[in-house]
């Protein structure tokens, strides 16, 4: 294709086949990013329904059965549909550019990894329209709620998870092969940008735990349809087995979500501090340490199921240990900013907010890791507040920062800075109004996943819902800003879009040409 990628000017047919048949890492990255944003809006709509119902005590808008489906689908869509594909999209776009590779190592499989996702989410979302409704057992789908007492649509959920897992495994293998095999001459491992490092470690986690999730849903499938008794004590099984298998996947999964976010922030903060990242190698080792620890702490999600005291103690101390490498990272980000010549463009604002709010979420995590205290916090809104601080203010804020940071490189046009900053403040304030009160609700004893609540929780729930709507509105502002930038943003010609930016991705033309580094660059 000498004339470059097909555009709309080449006709609809050529344009659609470009996207459907593409093997280009930039095209596939773009597909991932748009898909994840669509899922983000869908999952966000579910969240809005939840918060609208919780605006006041009593049941106003929906039935409790539907509320349960909303909490479940919100979690599933956000985790598997929005956050994970967003970071895979960034990986597709940026890793080949950052390591000087012509493309991903296995370009056709790359396309397959993406195109499985629309099918998986079509199947998952279609369950909402089935008899008996969609999955209603929470995104953690504990047995026996998800087996003995599940609606029939659980079977569709199981196979949707299966093919999402296959997509993730293929995507991760591709990233590992790319990083191990496609680096430009001179690009040694310890010269790789931190985003590449965090992603290759994330990919390792994915290859290790997605098969375990497949095992968990397979056991469910067999228990539901073929008479096995994995999760049924009558036959000699144990429902708690489900929780162990699930969280052996689930805990690394939360690091799968946050490690690429660490990588993004580690790219942005040095750029706008105009200083190299402080403690590069300690950042790499800290990431690896977090990844390792994530495999040995899973049962801290299960302190209240009746584990022996030795188990409780072990999982408590092992969990607290994670604070050490995480602290190293926070220290390094702050030290990078120290005495730097800082400017506060939108990506930097989101990154600084990330550092502050993620640290806050980390501290509430530390509170939850105390087994004795967790007896009180378990399954309350305190937990909901905690993981939204790390998932939203962590992963989503860093994803937003990444969009603003790399958008000019991708499309050669600058976003509207004023609008970006306004969006940041709306998102930041809306987020905190939405989730800070949930800490108070949880400490006061409000359980999570309930459609109704006692009157004593009414005030903070109303505040939280208002904040959630503000935060939701901020996402529409992001969408508008991105579309306006692509359509008629101010053109940028400079290869180095940001003054302080370092790395190979800033040596290629702006906008990044369809094919880059067909001849590998020399890295000194």
């Amino acid at each position: 294709m000498a004339h470059g990628p097909a555009t709309l000017a080449d006709g609809w047919k050529a344009y659609i086949s470009r996207w459907v048949f593409t093997t280009n890492h930039k095209d596939i990255g773009t597909l991932y990013l748009w898909f994840s944003f669509a899922m983000f809006i869908l999952g966000g709509a579910f969240a809005m329904i939840i918060r609208a119902e919780l605006f006041q005590p009593g049941m106003q808008l929906i039935k409790p059965e539907f509320f349960n489906q909303m909490t479940t689908m919100h979690g599933l869509v956000m985790v598997f549909g929005a956050i994970m594909p967003a970071f895979v999209g960034l990986a597709n776009w940026m890793i080949p550019l950052m390591i000087g590779a012509p493309d991903m190592a296995l370009p056709r499989m790359n396309n397959l990894s993406f195109w499985i996702l629309p099918f998986a989410f079509a199947i998952l979302t279609s369950t909402l329209f089935m008899e008996g409704g969609g999955p209603n057992f929470g995104w953690t789908f504990y047995a026996p709620l998800s087996t003995t007492y599940a609606p029939e649509s659980v079977n569709f959920f199981i196979f949707a998870i299966h093919i999402m897992g296959a997509s993730s495994i293929m995507g991760s293998i591709n990233i590992i092969a790319t990083v191990m095999n496609m680096r430009a001459p001179g690009m040694t491992y310890m010269k790789m940008p931190l985003f590449v490092w965090t992603w290759v470690i994330t990919a390792f986690l994915l290859v290790a735990v997605m098969p375990v999730l497949a095992g968990a849903v397979t056991m469910m499938l067999m228990d539901i349809n073929f008479g096995t008794s994995f999760f049924n004590a009558a036959g000699g099984g144990d429902p708690v087995l489900f929780q162990h298998v699930f969280w052996f996947f689930g805990h690394p999964e939360v690091y799968i979500i946050i490690l690429p976010a660490f990588g993004v922030v580690s790219q942005i903060i040095p750029t706008f501090s105009r200083k190299p990242l402080f403690g590069y190698s300690s950042m790499v080792y800290a990431t690896a340490a977090i990844a390792f620890l994530s495999f040995v702490v899973w049962a801290h999600h299960m302190f209240t199921v009746g584990m022996p005291i030795a188990g409780e103690l072990y999982f408590m101390y092992a969990t607290m240990l994670i604070a050490v490498p995480t602290g190293v990272k926070v220290f390094n980000w702050i030290t990078t900013m120290y005495k730097g010549s800082l400017t506060f463009e939108t990506p930097m604002l989101f990154s600084i907010a990330f550092v502050i709010l993620f640290t806050f979420g980390g501290f509430t995590g530390l509170m939850l890791s105390i087994a004795a205290a967790d007896m009180q916090y378990h399954d309350t809104y305190f937990v909901v507040a905690h993981f939204h601080y790390v998932m939203v203010a962590g992963a989503v804020f860093s994803g937003t920062a990444a969009i603003y940071y790399w958008l000019p490189k991708w499309c050669g046009k600058m976003y509207n800075e004023t609008m970006g900053q306004v969006q940041f403040w709306v998102a930041f304030i809306g987020f905190n109004i939405a989730f800070m009160p949930q800490h108070f609700l949880g400490l006061a004893g409000m359980p999570r996943r309930y459609a109704d609540y006692g009157l004593q929780f009414a005030d903070w729930n109303m505040v939280s819902s208002v904040g959630a709507f503000i935060y939701g509105g901020a996402q529409i502002m992001l969408l508008i800003n991105v579309i306006l930038t692509i359509r008629n943003g101010k053109p940028v010609a400079d290869e180095k879009v940001w003054e302080g930016a370092e790395g190979l991705e800033w040596t290629v033309a702006t906008p990044a040409p369809y094919h880059t580094f067909e001849k590998p660059p020399e890295v000194k």
């Binding site: 294709m1 086949s17 048949f21 593409t22 093997t23 493309d103 190592a105 056709r108 499989m109 195109w115 499985i116 099918f119 998986a120 199947i123 079977n155 569709f156 199981i158 196979f159 299966h162 093919i163 495994i169 991760s172 293998i173 591709n174 590992i176 092969a177 790319t178 191990m180 095999n181 430009a184 290859v207 290790a208 997605m210 098969p211 375990v212 095992g215 968990a216 499938l221 539901i224 349809n225 073929f226 008479g227 096995t228 008794s229 994995f230 049924n232 009558a234 036959g235 000699g236 099984g237 144990d238 708690v240 162990h244 298998v245 022996p308 005291i309 030795a310 067909e518 001849k519 590998p520």
Partner: protein, 314 residues
Amino acid sequence: MSEESTYYVPEQSKYPIAAATGFGLMAYGAATWVIDSSNPYILILGTLVMAVVMCMWWNTVITENMQGLANAQLKHSYVLGMLWFIFSEVMFFAAFFGALFYLRVIVNSWLGGDAAIGIFDDTPTDAAVANNAILWPGYEAQWPVMETPDQAANGDAAIFKGPDQAMSFPGWANIFSWLPLWNTAVLLTSSFTVHIAHTGLKNNNRKQFVTWLGITVALGLIFLVLQAEEYIEAYQHMGLTLDSGIYGTTFFMLTGFHGAHVTLGTIMLMVAFFRSLKGHFTHDDQFGFESAAWYWHFVDVVWVGLFLFVYVLD
């Protein structure tokens, strides 16, 4: 990466979207089928689409390789891809082995009202004692679980009934009529024969390569026949089925998934065998065969684990 041979990036491909469609149909069809067993058609359609696309896709990859489009770097990408895929398979089995250990060692003791592992404390927790006394009175921890907690507590009204006979070690007197032992012998031998074939290929000895590869395929097929025979035996004569409590559950799920992987490995080796008859593979270009061989060693190692923890150790 040398400059004269650039990394081959195909411009576009129709295979991935076709494969994704087949995969989506398979997922949707499988769910439809487990709910309504009279409707396997979507599943069959999806599987057919998938099978056809996979054949065409790999055919293209082989053709590209024969045309010399794949340079050393691309071949290394394939090697990495296969090795990490095998690692993901290891983790899939790890989930089931982990479940087996947890069920055998911990859950079983608790259901029987005992302490799980006596490292820290030999006295059972109050919860375990109450669990046994109130929910499953009369159940005693045992492996294989011949009488389920359900049977112990509810007698003939039980839904989950244990097997009449387990597949474990039958004692030295009957050792030669014990199928799993023969299966072990067959599979371990096949790992050696595939290695001999590999050595033959490396030394440019095609006759040795093709012959021993053929023998390996035959051994794989023998294993599958023996396993089918074992399953028939279990269902017809031993009362050992998928729904006979936790022993039947773990036995059939672990050996069944292993058998499925042996089937896949045999197909891969068969493809390699037919390619070898057509003169494919040389001592320095053998990824298609090598990846099948690695996969074969992997299913072999899994079997050793199965043999020890599912069959031998009581």
